[in-house]
């Protein structure tokens, strides 16, 4: 298969790619100049017809999101979601590290299209180096007159600030992000009102992911038709995929959304196959939140629609983590449950209590003190949480339940066998110590 000509990652590997000079010399900041000649409505139309779906995980079309802004608004704010916290996911990090000016250009285009006066980059607290890279790039852009008052000498002005989070998963949820940006506790808001109507500081607000915005200069530069020509119609455009686990070349790769999970793991220009002849037991293809695939299901297409056919929540962040046959699924289960147990914000009852309960159960199972009925409780608890039946304010509990539910359902025989192989009386003994 012919290797994909990188678009978003085209500057990766280029020396000094984070500098404005290098970015501009490679055709950067041309798209934004064109955009400023067009009307904002025209730009929105272009993005709509490119069918640019949000890369943050939900896959909602960006142009449609922008058109929810009230027509009679006087002020608009843009938030750039750089709170990339989903486990095994690091595509935004790569974009910021290698090509911060691409993000800044995309941000200016989005700000112009939505007529935003200020763009806030909400950056994950753990991004230290990346913060300095982006801040340096922003300073360069300000010095060049690309940000601030009258960008590129036009009538349009936009300020850009980087805000660093304190390291909470839930602050990647758009209203949690907004609350955190306002200086409050990062608790997702109840909707309606949606951010487009009343968001940051009670003003109409657009929240877009780093990767989504990074696509914008290319859509403007090469046109919506070119963009929709990449990959299947419902999942157009370039996409970054991450792969980690026992593969030969873990990393971040770019491709169209016509590849399969198997391609991502095995292709030479991607994961490069399993390390040391290890065998695949399971793959979490979209960040852990979306759920798990068995080794038989890895022909799943990495687009926005196909994951649903495999009982997954969606494409998510398209970051695959591979679990090999040497790994104990009980510790995988425990690792997942522990993550959500610590990351639930604690607002909604079901998520707050459910995630910590699942964590306790999974921890006990991993300690070799599980009971078969614990698997049923895990499944029932998973059913009793989440936004899908309307039980929570945000989608975090869905992300918490899908991996656990799919893991328990798809690997129930293995898990049960492991529990039955425990030392007899171990579960009772551990429970006696605990209580």
């Amino acid at each position: 298969m012919a290797s994909f000509e990188p678009i978003l990652l085209r500057n990766r590997g280029v020396e000094n790619s984070t500098s404005l000079e290098v970015y501009a010399s490679r055709g950067g900041y041309q798209a934004v100049r064109k955009v400023l000649q067009r009307s904002p409505a025209d730009v929105i139309e272009e993005v709509k017809s490119a069918n640019l779906r949000g890369r943050g995980g939900a896959g909602f079309p960006a142009g449609v999101k922008w058109s929810f802004l009230p027509k009679d608004r006087t002020r608009t704010l843009l938030c750039v979601n750089a709170d990339e916290s989903e486990p095994p996911t690091f595509c935004n990090r790569v974009l910021i590290e290698t090509d911060p000016h691409q993000l800044i250009e995309g941000t200016i285009i989005a700000a112009y299209a939505t007529q935003s006066q200020v763009a806030y980059v909400y950056m994950r607290g753990e991004f230290h180096e990346q913060f300095h890279i982006l801040q340096k790039a922003i300073d360069e852009a300000y010095a060049a007159g690309y940000l601030g008052k009258n960008v590129f000498g036009s009538e349009f002005s936009v300020e850009c600030y980087v805000h660093r989070g304190a390291g909470a998963y839930v602050c990647g949820e758009e209203t949690g992000l907004i609350e955190s940006l306002e200086g409050k506790r990062g608790w997702p808001r109840i909707k309606p009102p949606f951010p487009a109507v009343e968001g940051l500081f009670a003003l109409p607000t657009v929240v877009n992911n780093v990767e989504t915005l990074s696509c914008l200069p290319h859509i403007i530069e090469r046109g919506a038709d070119w963009f929709t020509g990449i990959g299947p119609a419902h999942s157009a455009g370039p996409k970054l995929f991450c792969v980690s686990g026992p593969v030969n070349k873990p990393g971040c790769y770019e491709g169209a959304m016509d590849i399969t999970v198997r391609d991502l793991i095995e292709r030479d220009d991607m994961g490069g196959g399993m390390m040391d002849g290890k065998e695949i037991r399971a793959v979490f293809p979209g960040g852990i939140s979306m759920g798990v695939l068995t080794a038989d299901e890895i022909n799943m297409k990495l687009d926005f629609d196909d994951p649903r056919n495999f009982g997954l929540l969606g494409l998510g962040t398209a970051a695959a983590v591979v679990v090999d046959t040497d790994t104990d699924l009980r510790s995988v289960l425990r690792n997942i449950a522990r993550f959500y147990g610590t990351e639930s914000c604690g607002q909604c009852t079901q998520c707050r209590e459910g995630t910590s309960w699942m964590n306790k159960i999974a921890t006990r199972i991993a300690m070799g003190a599980g009971r078969v009925e614990d698997l049923d409780i895990l499944l029932e608890t998973a059913r009793n949480m989440g936004m899908m039946p309307g039980l929570s304010i945000c989608g975090l509990p869905d992300g918490a339940t899908f991996p656990i539910e799919t893991l328990v359902k798809k690997f129930r025989p293995e898990l049960e066998a492991a529990i039955l192989a425990q030392e007899p009386g171990r579960a009772e003994a551990v429970l006696n110590v605990l209580n």
């Binding site: 909470a168 506790r185 109840i190 147990g341 610590t342 990351e343 639930s344 914000c345 604690g346 607002q347 909604c348 009852t349 079901q350 998520c351 707050r352 209590e353 459910g354 995630t355 910590s356 309960w357 964590n359 306790k360 159960i361 006990r364 409780i377 009793n384 936004m387 899908m388 039946p389 309307g390 039980l391 929570s392 304010i393 429970l431 605990l434 209580n435």
Partner: protein, 543 residues
């Protein structure tokens, strides 16, 4: 007025309220923790979820939406159809109640809230009998968060009502949430305890036993208490309260919903200000002095003794030498009866408005600060500087009676002129200075009707025990002119008799005094007393 169908029943409801409120108003016990009508909606406890009919996105046909929807967050619309009696709704309630109890210590036997706990009630009604969690419980700490309040975090359901109260109503924002997920806790900031004049309300709105009142801690099981509707006498706002008492002892005061007056709240001064009613220095029996002879007469003889002594003074010195000092702690009915008696024996008697205690300045809430964002228009609660309940009522009666009326200062200036004075006290704190005591001691006949022992007792010819407001019934007129009746909660201490009863007899009536009966008599004479204001009664499930 929107018409909503709740569980197949058509319900008319007020505009702009939530479906949850409409259901509660309609007698449906919909479980909820985070929703409180006086606070912002956060929709986080997820207990009040309901099913709602919505148009299908494609066919536009009305049908039950696939998701459950928080009823606290949904505003009623005409023609809306919702249900709480379906399987998904009830399954969620059941699951939720199991979640709430996962880490709860189940220490009801030593918990003050037991008996009025919505965790108990809801678990019993909507939950399951046993927890399926076999693992170790998350044990959150017990904390002392302020001079009057304890926080037992292990019992918390994270409804955040207290946090919202401190921010939105008190405006002092002492409370916050720390930590995340299952380890989340309510807490105060280091060195900034929960210490504001309204903090006691957080204990009232806590649906479980997490926030505890140190004053009431371990004093009494709540099911042994009887609640009597009353009006707080602490200041002239006239907050509606409930007096919780048992065995002739008052244990605590709780606010009652009284829209436009105190809404759902009360201040700590009123809440903890009732202690004087059980003071050891209460006057508990009548005393009559004749020279050095001191007797405790039988209550049956008291009216005749008083009437005779007053008639004697009027005969000897004239009716214009009689004065009565009325207290702003009296009920309107009592003052009316006393005026009726005095003007009956001495038609020219002077009516004196007793001292009106004031302290400090009026306090309004939310406290305005740079951070609260509250403006003058947002005042949600006021603590008045005038620390008595019924100045306006007494003034209305003095004004209505006409004749000679004096202020307390004018009365003092003419202290040598009186031959017979009836002074009514009832103040929780000392209320006359030494000079006044000395001056009134020279009056031939001084009748003192007071609550607590003082130098005045030694100066008086006749001492009548006054009763605390919880031992009486009648009405107070508050700062906005509302005539608010209050009921008797407990009996007077042994030996004492209710003020209303002996004044009723003195004024020439027979039988038993009741505030309602006297109000009827008053209304025939004074139009202004025809209309009383009573706080609405809220159903117990609407908390």
């Amino acid at each position: 007025m929107p018409n909503v169908i709740i569980d197949n029943q058509e319900v008319d409801c007020r505009d702009g309220i939530s479906v949850l409120q409409a259901a509660l108003d309609n007698g449906r016990d919909v479980p909820h923790y985070c929703y409180h009508p006086g606070l912002s909606v956060v929709a986080s406890c997820r207990l009040c979820l309901m099913e709602m009919k919505m148009p299908h996105p494609k066919t536009h046909e009305m049908g039950w939406a696939p998701k459950l929807i928080p009823s606290c967050q949904t505003i009623v619309r005409d023609g809306m159809e919702v249900r709480f009696n379906s399987d998904p709704v009830q399954a969620n309630q059941k699951a939720c109640m199991e979640f709430f109890l996962l880490n709860h210590p189940l220490d009801c036997p030593v918990c003050d809230q037991a008996g009025e706990c919505h965790l108990q009630d809801y678990s019993y009604r909507f939950g399951r009998a046993e927890s399926r969690m076999v693992d170790q419980k998350q044990v959150n700490p017990k904390k002392d968060i302020g001079p009057s309040t304890l926080l037992y975090q292990d019992r918390c359901v994270m409804c955040t009502r207290c946090v919202r109260f401190a921010t939105e109503v008190a405006g002092t924002s002492e409370l916050c949430i720390v930590n995340r997920g299952g380890r989340a806790e309510i807490d105060v900031f280091p060195g900034k305890p929960l210490d504001n004049p309204m903090q006691g309300n957080v204990v009232d709105i806590c649906p479980v036993g997490c926030l505890l009142d140190k004053d009431f801690l371990f004093q009494r099981r709540v099911w042994e208490l009887t609640g009597s509707p009353s009006i707080c006498p602490g200041c002239d706002r006239g907050c509606a309260v409930r007096v919780d008492h048992a065995d002739e002892k008052v244990y605590r005061l709780k606010p009652r919903y009284n829209p436009g007056v105190n809404d759902w709240w009360m201040c700590d001064e009123g809440r903890f200000g009732f202690k004087y009613i059980h003071d050891a220095k209460r006057i508990t029996s009548p005393i009559v002095r004749r020279g050095l002879d001191v007797t405790t007469p039988d209550w049956r003889d008291v009216p005749d003794i008083i009437r005779f002594r007053f008639e004697q003074q009027v005969l000897e010195h004239g009716a214009d030498k009689v004065a009565v000092v009325l207290s702003p702690f009296m009920a309107c009915e009592e003052a009316w009866l006393l005026i009726k008696f005095i003007r009956g024996v001495a038609p020219e008697a002077a009516l004196v408005m007793g001292p009106v205690p004031t302290e400090g300045k009026e306090q309004t809430f939310p406290v305005r600060s740079a951070n609260s964002g509250a403006s003058e228009a947002d005042v949600r609660f006021t603590i008045s500087a005038e620390k008595c309940p019924n100045r306006r009522g007494i003034e209305m009666l003095i004004g209505g009676a006409g004749g000679t009326t004096l202020s307390f200062d004018e009365f003092n200036e003419q202290s040598g002129a009186w031959s017979a004075v009836w002074m009514v006290g009832g103040y929780p704190k000392p209320w006359v200075d030494k000079a006044t005591t000395k001056a009134v001691a020279k009056v031939n006949l001084l009748v003192l009707q007071d609550l607590l022992e003082s130098d005045l007792v030694a100066a008086a010819s006749i001492v009548l025990p006054a009763c605390a407001w919880v031992e009486r019934d009648g009405s107070f007129v508050n700062a906005s002119g509302l005539i608010q009746p209050f009921e008797r909660a407990i009996n007077p201490p042994e030996g004492a008799k209710r003020d209303g009863q002996y004044l009723f007899e003195l004024a020439g009536y027979e039988g038993l005094y009741s505030g309602e009966r006297v109000r009827g008599l008053m209304a025939a004479e004074l139009d202004s007393f025809a209309k009383i204001a009573e706080a609405p009664t809220a159903p117990a499930h609407a908390h």
